[in-house]
Every structure is written in C-alpha cells, then in structure tokens.
C-alpha cells in the first residue's frame, strides 16, 4: 500500500522535474522569439539626408531603418539616376553601437566624408557631408525623434 502511494509520488516527482526543464525550454524558446523581435524592432534615430545630385533638384529624405544603401541601382534606398561617377551600390549608412556609420562599398570613385576619403566604417554626426562621386549627401540626425520601424515593416508587408 505504502509502495503504491509512494510510486504515485515518485511519478509526480519525475513530472515536476521535467516540468522544470520543460518550462526552461519553453521560456528559452520564448526568449529567442523576444530577442528576435527586439532586434528586428530595434529603435533607430531618424536620419535625414539631403541629397544634392550633380544635376537635378535637391531632395530631402528621412529614414528610420538601420541600414541605408545609396547607389545607381534603382533598388537602393537612395537611388541616384544618371550619374556615372556613382557605382551601382556605392556606400552604406548603418546604425549600430548607438551611432550612425558610413562605409564605402568598394565603389569605383570612393566615398568621402568631409573631403576625406574613407576606407573603414566611420561615425557620422549631424552636419557631416558625404560625397559619393559627384553627388553630395548632407546628414541630419535628429536625436529626439525616434520612429519605430515596425510601422514601416508592416507597410512593406502589405
């Protein structure tokens, strides 16, 4: 009799043990989801770029995604048409470690930051001038305007 009662308890104990582990696994899975979501939705300070092509009108655009590519290719985030001094994918602006960085993407004519040619990712701040070929980009980072890119992603999905 005592044996049967204790057997039930022993089975309950095994269930508790594996519930502990099961919960740990479940929470780990949830944690991965959460991390993924957080990284995907990482908040990026809004960056404004004033584009001055060699020929044509000046335009200002605002971005909230963590990666911006400029180049001749129409698929780029900042496409500049009809300028042969600009490579297909010329330069990249990216946000990480709490900073915006500019990086040359092995372009033919190079990327210049405030007249200095860059050959490694470099931090940029408001007022910097980036020169790609004959085009100029003026950087304007608004510190206090955060835009959650979630909204944009959802729009993209539609």
């Amino acid at each position: 009799m005592s044996g049967s009662i204790v057997l039930v308890l022993r089975i309950a104990m095994a269930i508790a043990l594996y519930s502990f582990l099961g919960w740990a696994l479940y929470l780990l899975w949830r944690d991965i989801n959460k991390q993924g979501n957080a990284i995907a939705n990482r908040r990026v300070p809004n960056i404004g770029i004033t584009i001055q092509p060699a020929s044509g009108a000046q335009a200002e655009r605002h971005f909230s995604q963590p990666e911006i590519i400029m180049g001749r290719d129409p698929g780029c985030d900042i496409p500049i048409k009809g300028d042969d001094t600009i490579s297909t994918r010329h330069a990249q602006l990216s946000y990480h470690h709490g900073q915006w960085w500019v990086q040359d993407l092995a372009s033919t004519n190079g990327t210049f930051l405030n007249q200095t040619m860059i050959n490694m990712p470099t931090v940029i701040t408001s007022g910097d001038e980036i020169k790609c070929g004959n085009a100029k980009l003026l950087v304007n980072i608004s510190v206090d305007v955060f835009v959650s890119p979630t909204i944009k992603l959802e729009k993209d999905n539609q």
Partner: protein, 805 residues
C-alpha cells in the same frame, strides 16, 4: 518579465523538492512495508532552509539585477536543493552542516548582489586576489588537516569548521586570467613573453596542488587555463597542445605516481579488482544499475553502500534513487547553466567580463564532467565535488559566488556587446561541453538499462543481502514439511535460522559477507522469490520496493527422522553418507561430517574457511575419493571376473557414469575426465548412483533432492529431476549380483571396500535392498576417511535395519 520567468522556474523546483521530501518522509514505511515505522522528518529543515534562502536571493536579484538571465539562478538553486536533500538523506549530520553552509553562502551572495556595480573593479586587484588564494592554499601544506582525520590534508580550519582553499582558488584563477588577458590586445601565440606571468602563476598553483596530491583540482586548473587561453587567442592549437600535455602527464603519472596508476587501472578494468582498488567505481556503477530507469525512490535505495556518497559519488546516489529519469534531468539542468552562461559571455559588454563568464562556465562544466564521468566510468575517477550538489561548504560557496558573477554579468548594459572577431572558440567550447554531457547521459543509460540486470546479480552487490532483511526468504522443509531452515523476525530484521545445523554442509548458508553455499545457493532463485512467482508480481515488487517478492518455500526429499539417525550414526567421524530411494532417486538422507553451525557464521566464518578439516565441504557430493575395491559387485555384475584390463574398467566406469558429473542441483565436484580408471576419483554420490543399479534392475535413477516449491498461485508445484534415468546394466545380471552380496538374514546386499589416498585409508560401503524385499528399494553409500569397516557396517545395519525391519 525576467522576474516572472524566474519565479515560475523556481516554483517547479520547489514543487520537485517538496515531493522529494514527502517521499523521503514516507520511505521507511515502504522499506519495511508497514505503516508502523519511525518516519523521517529532519530533512524538512533543509527544505525550509532552501526555500528561505532561494526566496531571499530571488527577491534581492529582482531588486538589484534587473533583466538578468532568468535561467541561471533557478537552475543553480534547483541543483543546490536536490543536492542538499540528497545529502540529508544520506547522512543527517552532514545535511545539517550543508544547510548551515547554504545559509552562509546566501548571506555572502546577498552582499555580492548589492555590490554588483563593483564587479569591473576586481579586475584591478587580480594579483592580490590570486596571491591571497595561493597563500591560503600554501598554508594547507603546513597547517592542512582533513575533517575525516585521514586522507589528503587539503583543509584549513579548527573547531569543526573546515575550509578548502583550493575551491575558491579555481575561481580566483579564472578572475586573474580573465583580467590579465583582457588587458592585453589580442594575444598571438608567438608573443609568448606576454603569457609568461599567467604560466608562472598557474604553474605555481599546480605545484601546490601536486605537493598536496590534489590531482583532481590540478587537472581542472590545467583545463581552465587551456579554455581561457583558447578563447582569448582563438587558436585551436592551444587545445591540441593542452590535450597532448594532459595525455603526457597522464602517462607519466601512470608509470610513476601510485594514485594515478591505481585510478587509471580501476578505470580501464574495474572488474579485475572489484573489492580492492576499483571498489568505489564498481559500487558506484552498481548503484547506477540499481536505479534503473525510474530509480528506487528517495530514501528507498541503498546509495550509502558507495563510499563517500555525499561528495565524490553523489551522482551515483542520485542515480540510484531517481534513476535514469533523474540523471538525465540533472544533466539537462547542468546544460541549462552552461549554455546560458556561455550566452552571457557572448553578450558581455567588455572583454574582461566576457572572458570571466566563459571561464566560469568552463570551470563549472569541466568540474561537473570530471566527477560525473568518473562516477560512471567515462573517464578515470578524480576526487572533485559536483558543483552545487556535493557536500562541502567551500565548494558550495565557490559555486554560488561563480553563479552570482554570471548573474551580474548577464545584466544588460546600455552599450552593446563587446566586439567579437571570431565566435568559433565559444561555439567549440560549448559544443565540447555538450558532447561531454551527452557522453555522461549515454553512459548512465548504458549502466542503468543495458548492463543493469546483469550487474545486479553480482555477488558483491550488497543490495541482495539488504533485501533479505526486508523480504522473507523461503523456508527449506523436509519431505513431510518439517522445517530445516526458516526465516524469522519482521521486516527490516529478518534473520535466517538453521533449525538443524548438522545438515549445514548440504543445505549451505546465505550470509551478507560470506555469500551463499549449498542448497541455499542452488535454490536461491526460488527462495528469493525471483522464480516461481508470477512475473508481473516480480516486476511490480521491483518497481515499488526494489526488492523481489517474498520467497517461496522449497520441500526437500530428505526425511527428518532418517537424517537425524544418519547424523547420529556418523557422529564425530570424518566422512559422508547418502541414503536414496533407488527407484525414484529421492535422496532421503545425506550427511557430511565434520559439520558446522551456520547460525554462528558471524563469529566463526573466517576460521571455517581455513579449517583443515574442511567442514564447509559437502563430502557427499564434493568429496572425491579413490575407488579402490569399492565397486566390486558392479564389476561382477558386468564381467563375472575380478581383474580387468584398463580398457574394460574404463568402459564399465563410463557406463556407470563415473566419468560424468551427476545432475543434481547441489554443488558437485567432478574429477578430471582424462584420468585413467585406476586413478579416477569419485564422489560418494557417484558411487551411490552406480550402486543403485543393483537395487533397481540395472537402472540408475535421476537423483533428486528438491521435491516441490510452494507457489502462491498453484500451491505445491513439483520440481522435476535434473537428469534422466539410465539403464546401464542388464536387469538380470544386476539382480544376480545383488543376491551374491546379500547380507545373511537381511533383505539387503552389501559390500565394503577400501582405497588409499595420501597415506589415508578410505573405507567404502555400498549397500541396497534386494528384489525380494517388497518395500521401497533403498540404496546406501558410506564413505569414511579412516580404516573402520566395523563402523561402516554398523551404520548400515542400524540405518537399513531400522527401515526394513
């Protein structure tokens, strides 16, 4: 969010430990199979202490360490509680002490959590920290003691409080190495001078440990140094070099250092010396095997049979009581700590904290693998503790500080993880730890499920003898159900009582130290209840209690009255006697003198086995004597002449089955089959069977000594004879030979013969009833280790005479 996750995990851990404690309280009732027992309550103190300490740390971490890793602390607390209750179950004294250490460790943790902001600062004091650890360890060389009084003197302390400095030294080494390597730019292997200080200090620590013969900790040091160097240099070469160095050290140790030689031999071939050098490992494996899949249940196994179960072999104790289910859970919990620790390292905001976290993970992982692997023969045994689980204040405190450092590092800071040029070393290291845990899990399953059933029937498995105290063993009865051997007492203190000690050489004994002999050994399966009972009952009892069901009574063919008479007649003379029903083969009396009293085996056991008179030997079936002239009537029956050639003799002896061991389930001796017939030695049983032909029309019956077993379902079930009857002589020739040797005015024939062996005269007597006698055909053999025909004949007349009157 983090707090919520941590709370839920801790709740499951608390529930597990609650059920564990409840089972432990009830366990005496299950062991003794009655509700009227002393229940265990003391360990609830441990449970409450665990609950309080865990709650306090949980609250403090929620307050001071927001967004810390939510898995690390619950997993560590779970292991600590499991260990604490296991220690309490093994030894209440040590359980109480461990409880106190848990409280002390908790207080220190609370202080650390409150001071968590200062963690980066300890980087500056790396030399002071390591130096103080080294000094403390060095002090053990001079002032070291051992709490148990014997063994390596690795502890410092007095007045009952002991501390092992080599435990915190591991953590201090990790801190020092992490700080030193983080302060340097990425280290290249060819910039050796940069590494000199670390090599010097680690070498110094190793030297101290070698002097102290703390080789387990020394190997952990080498492995910790290797992993941290591997992580900081990102070169696999470090691993290979260190692997080679360890192997070389192992080889040198194997040939020149006694301890290492013993440990490696015990690992390579534990079965060679199971009661000596590999006693620990064999007992540990037996404990794992005894646990099987579901385990015996807390408090219901016998893990105390393994030496130092509270510290070095606590994994075996857990395996026995919670089974493979428990050990896999334990390994998975360790994996949670290691993987989350490595995650913490990757997310760490600077190199120092990253190296520190990775170093702590490797320290916890390597030490767990070394001792678990040592317990289940994955690698040679190293006497280190299982972090969080094993008994030991210094070990618990160090593990707690280590996990707290991990917790503090896991608190995310504003800045992102430090730059990482190559994540490979971390994934390699994590993979190796995972592989190690998997090897341990596989090995635990191997011993518990695949090899388990075989191992448990080993004679050095004391669990069988312990089960005998809790489960009644079957009785041995005479042919009229008069008891020879019974089990007396009640559950927990059953004792075997031999009511008729003179029969000891035949019935044998069952004893926790001396093992089993005689019919107690050959009928063990029935007497122990693992044969004859329905298999579902055997399975159920094993599941519930870890023991076989109550044993079954066995009825023997021996007649109490005739046996008493035979023993009286043989008296103080050395020799043997068997009386058998010549037709059915039922042995009615079997005596072997001198005899002994199996009730006094505790006191006399050792003397008995070295006694020159060999009272343990059953001379009737194991004594081998030269034949001499004893079988003359049989020669007559076959050849009508008395001097035979070797070939004729050999043919006769073969047909009388003297060249074959009789089939009877009792220990039997058999002479070498290649001996010439003149040198052949036979047992009295063989002579008896040959002689039975004259009283049974030339047929040798199949001898029987166990008649029936009392099964719960069908009552008495007859046990069939082991062999078959054999017609070896022509019936008429046999009858005529019997008549030729008839004793005057008696219904039986008889022949006395003599043989000499080692200047000792052996007197043989064979006798049996003749056909004219209408009663049960009987046959008798008497073998005396002295020249005493008169005695042999007087035994014959009194024994056969009393029956045939």
């Amino acid at each position: 969010m983090t707090d919520n996750m941590q709370t839920r995990l801790l709740r499951w851990a608390a529930l597990f430990l609650l059920i564990y404690s409840t089972i432990l309280t009830l366990s005496p009732a299950v062991r003794e199979r009655t509700w009227d027992v002393d229940y265990k309550f003391q360990h609830w103190l441990g449970y409450l202490a665990w609950l309080a300490c865990t709650y306090i740390i949980h609250k403090a971490s929620a307050r001071y360490l927001q967004d810390r890793d939510p898995f690390l602390f619950p997993a560590a607390a779970f292991l600590t509680g499991w260990g604490l209750l296991t220690i309490w179950r093994l030894d209440e004294n040590f359980g109480f002490k461990q409880g106190i250490w848990l409280v002390i460790s908790t207080l220190i943790i609370l202080l650390l959590i409150r001071l968590h902001r200062y963690l980066p600062i300890i980087r500056r004091y790396k030399y002071i920290l390591l130096a103080s650890g080294l000094v403390l360890t060095a002090l053990t060389v001079v002032f070291g003691t051992n709490p148990q009084g014997i063994g390596p003197r690795l502890w410092l302390g007095c007045c009952g409080v002991y501390f092992q400095p080599s435990e915190p030294l591991k953590l201090l080494l990790v801190i020092y190495l992490a700080a030193y390597l983080a302060d340097r730019p990425i280290i290249r292997l060819n910039s050796l001078p940069l590494l000199v200080p670390t090599i010097l200090l680690t070498g110094l620590a190793l030297l101290l440990l070698f002097v102290q013969r703390d080789l387990g900790t020394a190997s952990i040091f080498i492995l910790i140094y290797t992993t941290i160097l591997f992580i900081s240099t990102e070169k696999k070469r470090v691993l290979f070099a260190s692997g080679l160095a360890l192997l070389a050290a192992l080889l040198v140790g194997y040939f020149f250092i006694g301890v290492i030689n013993v440990r490696i031999n015990a690992w390579l071939n534990p079965w060679a010396d199971p009661s000596g050098n590999s006693y620990q490992i064999v007992q540990s494996i037996l404990a794992v095997a005894s646990g099987g899949f579901i385990g015996r249940g807390p408090g219901m196994g016998n893990p105390t049979l393994v030496p130092v179960a509270i510290s070095d072999f606590i994994f075996a104790a857990i395996a026995e009581e919670t089974g493979l289910i428990g050990t896999l859970g334990l390994l998975a919990t360790i994996w949670v700590i290691l993987s989350r620790g490595m995650m913490t390292a990757l997310k760490a905001p600077d190199r120092f904290r990253r190296f520190l976290a990775a170093g702590i993970v490797s320290y916890l992982g390597i030490q767990s693998l070394l001792i678990i692997g040592g317990n289940i023969r994955v690698m040679p045994l190293t006497g280190v503790t299982l972090p969080f689980v094993s008994y030991g204040g210094s070990s618990l405190l160090t593990s707690f500080v280590a996990i707290t450092i991990l917790l503090i590092i896991s608190v995310p800071e504003d800045n992102e993880p430090a730059a990482l040029s190559n994540y490979k070393p971390y994934s390699t290291l994590t993979g190796m730890l995972a592989l190690g845990l998997f090897a341990c899990a596989f090995s635990a399953g191997w011993w518990a499920l695949y090899r388990g059933p075989d191992l448990l029937s080993r004679t050095d498995n004391a669990r069988r003898a312990i089960a005998d105290r809790y489960v009644p063993r079957g009785n041995l009865l005479d042919r009229n159900n008069k008891p020879f051997v019974v089990t007396e007492g009640e559950s927990g203190s059953y004792e075997r009582v031999y009511l008729y000690p003179e029969l000891a050489p035949i019935l044998g004994y069952t004893h926790p130290i001396f093992g089993q002999a005689g019919l107690e050994a050959t009928l063990d399966d029935y007497l122990r209840g693992i044969k004859g009972n329905p298999s579902s009952l055997i399975w159920w009892d094993h599941l519930l209690y870890g023991t076989p069901p109550p044993g079954l009574d066995v009825r023997l063919s021996i007649d109490f009255g005739l046996q008493t008479k035979a023993d009286q007649l043989l008296g103080g003379h050395t020799g043997a006697l068997i009386l058998m029903n010549a037709e059915t083969g039922e042995i009615l009396a079997m005596a072997s003198h001198p005899t002994y009293d199996p009730n006094k085996l505790d006191e006399e056991g050792d003397a008995l086995s070295s006694n020159e008179a060999a009272p343990l030997l059953n001379r009737a079936t194991q004594g081998l004597y030269p034949i001499g002239t004893s079988l003359l009537p049989l020669i007559r029956a076959q050849y009508k002449e008395e001097t035979l050639s070797d070939n004729q003799l050999k043919k006769l002896y073969s047909s009388l089955m003297l060249y074959r061991a009789p089939q009877l389930n009792i220990p039997i001796s058999q002479a070498d089959l290649n001996t010439s017939p003149k040198d052949l030695r036979i047992s009295p049983l063989q002579a008896l069977l040959a002689a039975s032909t004259l009283s049974n029309h030339g047929i040798i019956p199949a001898p029987r000594i166990s008649m029936a077993v009392d099964t719960p379902e069908q009552g008495w079930v007859v046990l069939p004879a082991e062999g078959q009857p054999n017609e070896v002589l022509q019936a008429r020739a046999a009858d005529e030979a019997a008549v030729a040797f008839i004793v005057q005015d008696k219904p039986y024939w008889s022949h006395t013969g003599q043989a000499s062996a080692n200047e000792l005269i052996i007197t043989w007597l064979i006798a049996g009833t003749v056909q004219d006698w209408g009663g049960t055909p009987l046959v008798l053999v008497v073998t005396l280790e002295e020249d005493n025909t008169f005695l042999a004949e007087s035994i014959r007349d009194q024994l056969l005479g009393s029956i045939t009157k």
